[in-house]
């Protein structure tokens, strides 16, 4: 693991920049990308950030900070498409590309240097191509490992390029506040400050056995993080760990408590789960149902079946029977359906004609929907509900494979 060259690429205010590129009227103006219906700000442009508008704010909060802000309802398809195209560019420089989220990727370019020259040259080539093709900018960090590469890319935004060479590591880390490290959240930060640890320098010098006693196995990792040591490899998509669950959830347009309405959403979610599972040839034995009440109390229940399934109706029936086991005490805000305990399998066809017809009909439905888009052919009982499908890009989104969720 010694002498690696790792690059971290972070797209600058990604969603907002994509919107400004596709609609020139928005260029140079403070804009914020929001979701559909009840939502918060997902990304603000740099012009809006100057006024103090931040991700996660309500629209009215943002308007208070910046009265002439322009809200744009996000178009997730644009973002997932662009992101997948950007990853293709990255793959021209190394096969070791780990997509970390929709707008961030790690690359191990150790073996690419002989072909392309210096790390900086690769960074400039990537930046130039992304700017030329999409008009977007990104910040790139280059360092001996993922932890430091990510730290480096955060140092200069927008359109930055920061290199941390191995000899500079301890000098750079000395003054870096610990909360800037990826992996130290607000809780760990609070606990560490109780020890008087403020900077990475402090963390690296702090006795490791005290950390170990306080944090267990994580304590040791924190120690190494303070020293800027991180051995974790860049894991390309095809080598990533097997997917353990397939699920979808949605925040409803408005809180509902009528069982019939809840069932409609459950059927829609079950179809989304079933379709994605079928597309990638997996079936789940356990079905989970997640419910969030109006006051944000969230809970889930699960039920395990005799046989794994990826049939939408069976998933739906299981979800409904889980819902039958408890009494809803409040209106529902969010619903989620998930299958786990996955097995990868080719499809065994049923012997008896009635069941076989059902399986073949599902196959035919999937073929139509693959060609003409999700929910082109679907269950009659969910025809009247609003637009269907995924509206939110999950953090687990990936440009290919089972985690590639079609969003609208």
């Amino acid at each position: 693991m010694s002498d690696r060259v790792i690059m971290h690429m972070d797209m600058n205010s990604y969603f907002a920049s994509v919107e400004q590129q596709t609609n020139p009227e928005l260029k140079g103006k403070p804009i914020a990308v929001i979701g559909n219906g009840r939502t918060v700000i997902t990304t603000a442009s740099y012009e809006a950030r100057a006024f103090g508008v931040k991700t996660g704010m309500n629209t009215w909060e943002a308007r208070q900070k910046c009265p002439h802000i322009i809200f744009v309802v996000g178009d997730n398809r644009k973002y997932t498409y662009t992101s997948a195209e950007i990853v293709k560019i990255l793959l021209d420089y190394t096969p070791l590309v780990e997509v970390f989220s929709i707008d961030e990727s790690f690359m191990d370019i150790t073996g690419s240097l002989r072909m392309f020259g210096s790390p900086e040259r690769i960074a400039y080539l990537i930046k130039a191509r992304i700017r030329h093709r999409f008009g977007l900018t990104c910040s790139i960090g280059i360092a001996p490992n993922k932890l430091l590469a990510k730290l480096a890319s955060e140092m200069k935004k927008p359109d930055g390029l920061t290199v941390i060479r191995p000899v500079e590591v301890s000098r750079v880390l000395e003054r870096v506040p610990i909360e800037d490290l990826c992996g130290i959240g607000s809780r760990t930060h609070r606990q560490l400050s109780l020890f008087g640890i403020q900077t990475c320098g402090d963390l690296g010098r702090f006795p490791v056995d005290i950390l170990r006693r306080k944090f267990g196995i994580i304590g040791e990792r924190l120690h190494y993080m303070g020293l800027g040591i991180d051995d974790s490899p860049v894991v390309p998509v095809e080598e990533a760990e097997e997917v353990k669950s397939v699920g979808h959830s949605m925040t409803l347009e408005k809180d509902i408590s009528v069982r019939k309405d809840i069932n409609k959403y459950l059927l829609q979610l079950s179809e989304m789960v079933g379709r994605r599972a079928r597309r990638y040839g997996v079936a789940g034995k356990t079905v989970h149902l997640t419910v969030r009440y109006a006051d944000f109390t969230t809970f889930g229940r699960q039920q395990t079946r005799k046989m794994p399934t990826n049939n939408s109706e069976e998933i739906f029936a299981e979800a409904v029977s889980i819902l039958d086991t408890f009494v809803l005490t409040q209106p529902v805000r969010l619903l989620g359906v998930r299958i786990t305990n996955l097995s990868y399998q080719r499809e065994q066809l049923p012997l008896f004609a009635e069941e076989r017809k059902k399986a073949l009909a599902t196959g035919a439905m999937d073929m139509v929907n693959n060609k003409f888009g999700d929910f082109t052919v679907t269950y009659g009982s969910i025809l009247d509900t609003e637009e269907k499908g995924s509206h939110v890009i999950s953090p687990a989104w990936r440009p290919s494979g089972i985690r590639n969720v079609d969003v609208r």
Partner: protein, 372 residues
């Protein structure tokens, strides 16, 4: 109640009922055996309300009576006792005392009055069946029984007799919705109204009957009582509640027009499939068969492990065909067929396949392919 019995006899009697007693402990009395002495005979009875068994053994009765005790504990105790006579006696409040050599056990029992009713069996209207014939039929069908309890009508084997003149065709069928196995034997005599209509024997009961047939060949008696079937062998009786449900019309799933027939050496295919199945995925065991006029290529692959392939000679003169199967389903069939060659009768890659022994006609298996 008091009696003396040799260890061998008592152990054998208790061992036989271990598989009957209820393991889930929903009703404590069901994990007990009923012991009853009449004259110099000990009747041991166990039941889980679905399948019950009663068997009789010679003992020396001192005082007649009855009691129930935990089947598992009593068996464990008797198993560890020395080879000597065992004295079994009941005390007040359903306590039991066991003495053997210098060992004494005092164990709690439950009142025999709480033990479920076991029907008394009259021996008229019984049908006689050779144990070997029955064993053959059960062996070649029971592997296809469905284990999904929600499909309760498939949780057993279907037995039906169709009279044809002097002879009767006795058919046994099992299916789990993915494959089906059918045995057909021609017998003399008639078989009564229940079998003409067809009955479903429960899975647990069928395995008890199979145990009956595993000793030396003999004649078994089969009769019906209300909604139950009664099987009798020498000193043992098994009574089982028949599955109350409609068995699907299996005749409709047996393909009639499968004209692409491949003749294969059974053992060769069996071992090849076992090898290939190692690399197919854990749960679905999918293997691919590519059949043409020269050879059959059997292959499997697993994204995590790799891939494997093997080819063998084929006796086939149709169009080339690719078809996927769950290797376990094929192996189950090849494991029970007693013939050197089998016939694999296919139609296309999405239609059910029919498997028969090349030399015999009594066995038919249908397996639904997997989508490749």
């Amino acid at each position: 109640m008091q009696f003396t019995v040799t260890k061998d006899i008592f152990l054998k009697g208790l061992q036989r009922v271990q598989s009957i007693v209820e393991k889930r402990n929903t009703m404590p009395i069901l994990s007990n055996v009923l012991l009853e002495t009449v004259d110099d005979r000990l009747d041991i009875t166990a039941t889980d309300l679905e399948v019950g068994m009663k068997s009789s053994y010679p003992v020396t009765t001192v005082k007649p009576g009855k009691i129930t005790v935990s089947a598992k504990k009593l068996f464990e105790i008797i198993r560890e006792l020395p080879d000597a006579d065992i004295t079994f006696s009941t005390k007040e409040n359903d306590w039991v005392e066991l003495r053997c050599g210098k060992a004494v056990f005092n164990i709690v029992g439950l009142s025999p009055d709480e033990f479920p009713y076991f029907p008394s069996i009259q021996e008229n209207n019984f049908i006689k069946i050779e144990s070997e014939l029955l064993r053959d039929m059960i062996e070649k069908t029971s592997f296809a029984i469905c284990h999904d309890e929600t499909k309760y009508n498939l949780n057993g084997v279907f037995l039906k007799a169709a009279e044809a003149g002097e002879k009767t065709a006795l058919k046994m069928v099992a299916t789990d919705g993915h494959r089906l196995s059918l045995m057909e034997k021609t017998l003399e005599g008639s078989f009564g109204p229940e079998l003409s209509k067809g009955v479903i024997f429960p899975k647990k009961g069928i395995f008890e009957i199979k145990k009956f047939t595993e000793d030396e060949p003999c004649e078994l008696l089969l009769g019906f009582l209300d909604n139950s079937a009664v099987i009798k062998k020498n000193n043992m009786v098994v009574v089982m509640r028949l599955v109350d449900g409609e068995f699907p019309d299996y005749t409709r799933v047996i393909p009639q027009n499968n004209d692409r027939i491949v003749k294969v050496d059974r053992e060769q295919l069996f071992h090849s499939l076992r090898r290939m199945a190692i690399l197919s995925s854990e749960k679905s065991k999918g293997v691919k068969l590519e059949i043409d006029r020269e050879k059959i290529i059997i292959s499997s692959s697993n994204p995590e492990l790799g891939e494997a392939r093997e080819d063998m000679e084929s006796d086939y003169d149709g169009e080339p065909l690719q078809i996927g199967f769950n290797a376990k389903y094929l192996l189950d069939v090849l494991g029970v067929v007693d013939s050197q060659f089998i016939l694999l009768c296919l139609r296309d890659e999405l239609s059910p396949a029919l498997i028969r022994a090349a030399e015999k006609e009594d066995f038919t298996s249908v397996i639904m392919p997997m989508r490749l």
